[in-house]
């Protein structure tokens, strides 16, 4: 790989190697840096993030580079396409074949078992993670496979319930603040009441979510299944199929009840994140299941008329974890672990929370003014100056909702702490595809009046299909 070094650098490296009479693989040769050469690099691959987080990941990497100094290693962010499918495809293909070089990869939580089992990422030691006990345990579990830590959580994500307080006020209910939490029965009662009264302008149905034939359908299904069956798990810790017909029937029934046409917006069957957000933002529903990142935009639109609370039942975890590739050299791997420790330390997590990500550490959610402070990214430190015009650079979403409830501490943190994971298996791609396809009978579009198959029938087919793609116990 010396091809991209200048000729002068190549000959210097060769000379040094000869003088040292040491054996070097080409990779080692690239790491020996002659005086004046560029510092050695750590390449970090991550999907492009255009959700308005102001390049916070780049800012944290810049902070690490500054700490390393001019003679130290230099971390460089290589952005991949925004689409998760394309990110996964490129990372898998490149690491399997060696056709591109990455030292650190930012992986969706559902990919960890696959990359670990394929030997593409390496087990990490304590040097890659600071204060592991500070990491929210449910979130930290996404970083392990086969009893070993393969990654460190970078930013998390979890399903939340958004709602229109003005809609609730218009029906005269006393429960316009649901921040204490709701059950699905409460929710259905509230929707029934909204439907029975003169409807708010533009209103069509009670709630909406993401049920198009993509990952969002799997997320909603797992949330329903995990709510209906105590300790539900589609796979055991070794990735073997662990559910049965009876559990799946209960899960399918729960999903069908949640998505009954009396409550759910009809177009949800073809909605992804953007469509469901638009429907709610345009006032077509009172409730919305969505991720934390839409909170600032929705708050800007609805101000005090917006409420947010934990999802009734179980919510599914999302997010990304940082891992070190197996193909990188030992020397770079050790440095990559240091970089990961920095990018995920309590200070960085505080910055990430302020930039709009769901932080992975409990300490990040502590009251303002307590440690850790966000020193790694100055734009997000509390001392960042506010603009005299009132157009401030501070995070837009006010953390305190009316009534003194802290969104991040009282809603987001508990939601993350009690969230459930999607099935953990190296064959996740096949599993999610099976769920999406088999649940088409329940969630997919259908001509008006056409009957849905019975729950037990859907569950039996799902059970059979999952048995085909997953090893049994």
């Amino acid at each position: 790989m010396a091809r991209r070094l200048t000729a002068a650098v190549v000959s210097l490296v060769s000379l040094l190697a000869l003088l040292a009479l040491a054996s070097c693989t080409p990779r080692d040769a690239r790491e020996q840096q002659p005086p004046g050469a560029e510092p050695p690099r750590i390449v970090v691959a991550s999907g492009q993030d255009v959700t308005g987080k102001n390049g916070i990941r780049q800012q944290l990497i810049d902070a690490w580079n500054a700490k390393e100094g001019e003679r130290g290693y230099r971390a460089r962010l290589v952005e991949l396409p925004g689409s998760a499918d394309q990110q996964r495809s490129q990372l898998l293909g490149a690491l399997q074949s060696g056709g591109a070089e990455y030292d650190v990869v930012n992986l969706d939580v559902t990919w960890i078992p696959e990359f670990a089992a394929a030997g593409l990422i390496r087990p990490l030691t304590g040097s890659a993670v600071k204060s592991p006990r500070d990491i929210i345990p449910s979130v930290d579990r996404t970083a392990f496979w086969d009893g070993e830590r393969y990654a460190v959580p970078f930013n998390s994500d979890v399903g939340l319930l958004y709602y229109r307080k003005d809609h609730l006020r218009s029906i005269g209910t006393s429960r316009t603040d649901l921040s204490g939490g709701v059950t699905w029965d409460d929710l259905r009662d509230l929707i029934d009441t909204v439907n029975d009264r003169p409807k708010p302008a533009g209103y069509k149905d009670g709630w909406t979510t993401q049920l198009a034939a993509y990952e969002g359908r799997t997320v909603n299904a797992i949330e329903a299944f995990a709510s209906a069956v105590p300790d539900f798990a589609l796979t055991d810790e070794d990735g073997r199929y662990a559910a049965d017909d009876e559990q799946l029937t209960a899960g399918v029934t729960e999903l069908r009840e949640r998505t009954a046409s009396a409550y759910l917006l009809g177009e949800a069957s073809a909605s992804r994140e953007a469509e469901s957000l638009s429907a709610f933002a345009e006032g077509r529903t009172t409730f919305l299941r969505h991720w934390p990142y839409v909170y600032p935009a929705l708050y800007e639109t609805f101000k005090g008329n917006l409420g947010v609370t934990r999802l009734p039942g179980k919510a599914v975890l999302g997010g990304q974890n940082l891992a070190v590739t197996s193909s990188t050299s030992e020397q770079r791997a050790a440095k990559a672990a240091e970089l990961i420790a920095f990018l995920t330390d309590p200070d960085s997590e505080r910055c990430l929370l302020r930039a709009g990500f769901a932080a992975t550490r409990t300490s990040a959610y502590q009251a303002p003014g307590t440690t850790p402070e966000c020193r790694h990214a100055s734009a997000y430190s509390r001392n960042a100056s506010a603009s005299p015009t009132g157009e401030s650079a501070e995070l837009k979403a006010p953390d305190l909702l009316a009534g003194g409830v802290s969104y991040s501490r009282d809603v987001l943190l508990p939601a993350l702490s009690e969230a459930v994971q999607r099935p953990r298996t190296p064959l996740y791609g096949a599993v999610t595809q099976t769920l999406i396809t088999q649940l088409d009978a329940l969630c997919g579009p259908r001509p008006p009046g056409a009957p849905r198959p019975r729950d037990a029938q859907v569950a039996r087919r799902l059970d059979e299909a999952l048995k085909k793609v997953l090893p049994g116990r």
Partner: protein, 841 residues
Amino acid sequence: MSRFDPRGKANRALLAGVSEYDHVAPDPQGVNGQLPAVRHNRTSLEDALHRGGVFGAGEVRALASPTPDDFTGALRRACREARGLLLLYFAGHAVTSTSGSELHLQMRTARVLLGHGLPGSVRFSEVLGELAESHAERVVVILDCCYAGNAAGIWHHLDDPKRRKHKIQLLMSVQPNRCILGGDADAATPFTRELTAVLDEGGDVWLSRLYAAVKERMAAAKYKAEDDDPQRPQALAPPWDPEADVLLAAGPAVLPPPPPGVSWPRRLWELLTRARKAVTGSGRTTLAALLALLATGAGGYGILALTGDPGPCAPPLELRVLTDPDLEPPVRAAADAYVTSDANTTGDGCRRSGVTVNSAGAAAVVTALGKRTDSWQQPREDDNPQRDIGPQPDVWIPATRADLDRVNMAAAREDRLFARLEAAAEPIAYSPVVLAVPKALGAGLEPTGRSLSQLRTDLERVDGKAELHRPAPELTDAALLATMGLYGEDADARAAERRLARAGRPEPSAARLLCALPAEDAVDRHAAALVPEFLLKSGIGCHSVTRVPRVAAYPDDVPGLEPAFVRVRWEDGDRDADARDDAVDRFRAWLTGDGGRAVLGEHGFRSATGERGLLAAQEPPAGLAGSVRPAKAADPSEMDLTLERFGSAHGPGRVLFLLDSSGSMAGRWDGSSGGPGILKQTLPGLGGEDEYGVWAVHGTGGRTHTELLGFGTHERPDAERALGRAGVRDAEADPHGALLDALAFMRERGTDDEQPQLIVYLTDGEDDGRLTGKALDEVLDRAGGDAGVPVVMVSLRNSGCDRGRPATRIAAAGRGRCLDVGDDLVPALYDEVARTGSGVE
């Protein structure tokens, strides 16, 4: 025990090579010295095993200088996971007990203490115990260390009433009670060097052959062990029982499939698969009887493969497939069908590969494969095809093979290439580019035998209001091929472009065009579209609109789509070369075989040869011809030339960027997802002759903006620097005033020519409060005027382009697009800018 071919099973190879030790002499507790040669052992053996093809992607794990915990952890895991063959290799220092009854494998942290203390070591007897308990069917242990030969004695003494150890076979680098030298720093140790050489010889390398050949080669080379003794490799226990042999490699010599010397199990598997297909529907009993019959002749392999407990499947090898935007839906449907097909399933019911399909603008892909493979493999901050085009493809399916020639022509001018292309000889299928006309007008046209320009004249004669639509030629090959027909041999490209419908901007794909037409019923009834024929059969997936039915007229001078299957090999991407080649070959064979033809037939494709009949063996749908005479093949030089003429037909373009620089943008400023960063990424879409400028929008008094980059032609680095210098202002912004100024500015420049123009307004929407009521109406009115310049609104917040938002309404009035944060903001904006500009490089 019988001859064991592990291919297709869940196999594992664990290669532990300890080259670096924490404690070495002169440390009194340290080992003799470091073992740099072992580094070469690790990599060369790993490569040889990958090439050997017995171990699949992800099945070989190399441990570089592990600690005892790392080693035993990895060993336990391999024991748990392996269902077929488990290969354990160790190279490093080792010591034996005084009695010779134990062998201590010394790991990275090894120390030697007074007495019998050996911290940092692993006892070989314990390793054997683990291996005996493993789920693997067969285990091969290879030791390259001092006293390796003592391992055989330890095997014999292992207490094993259940005879589990008998599945373990040993290959050892030296005779018992002999130490060996550490080897040269610049090559592998002698034993491993010869071992990998034999594995690399190609063909089926069975353990017996491996041992015999290594022994012979080492004797010939006269390698010496300690005390000047010859170094003699050992095996447990020759002479080999031929029935107990294990296949360790079946390298390149046996590829491509079907191999001439294909082994019994694989041949049997193929027979069984065929048999299973043959008896589908005839009942389980018949199938079982047939299997039993076949198995009798083959020692039971087939029965094991089909009815044995399927072990956990290894994660499959990932294939990245890149195609033309028009072809993405059918290719994705084919890939989805393939991954669950028998062709992609091993005997254990595991998937061999996963396939992910994506598409990108055809011209950009041709340029990237011809000229940008360096940055595609190692992206730079200002040049990142991994982000802008997508994954580095293993397979490229362009809409015509001529694209491959275009890439080769461009690549011939490059110093160095980092991707090699290799195309299959035959196209996958065929679909002519047709003029799709509303059924009511179709009766007045000759469906075949006319050139495109004749058809166009005929159409205008039949319907005075007829409009001709074509998608963007730089994004899809079908549109480019149609453009070749439109321009003809000497027609004036500019005049030809003027005769096309001017409503809005060209759609990015034929499917999008057909979906967009019904938006206005009056347009739909008079609109003819140049699209690939297959879309008229397969439908296009745009819901909730009723389209006017269309019939096809087949111009005889427009080349059709002949999708080609191209393997892309990336430099250094050979870690799993054979497995990847095999996966690609299987996908290609399936795609061009019955499975692929069925899916492509459903999507409306025709046979690539002969009469070009529809692949779906049914009557052609109404409005389509049964068979077609293919037009001339696409000419690569003509395609390039047409693209160039298209670019200059519109003259160089003009783009005015408006960058909201008010205080609230501070949170959306830095990095590639910040305002200046996003604009920077669109600059490669502009060429040296395009005129453009950037306004920083701020201020609410009389002045709505300051100039960041003066309007004119620019060298890209200068423009990048100007954006790099941009900063957020401590002020609010007046989008109403700024947009009116921009529209007036551009209108003034566009009065004398027909050069394409574009305004891009990038904002966080913080000042949308100034875009309401009368102010908004005024902007909508000006943007929507006859001579209006297209306006692309970019909103850096979620739901910024929701129905009724100012940005959405302005973009609609200005016949531009509204883009908000999401997966495709940057590429979509790039496309918009590149379509106005003439720079594709």
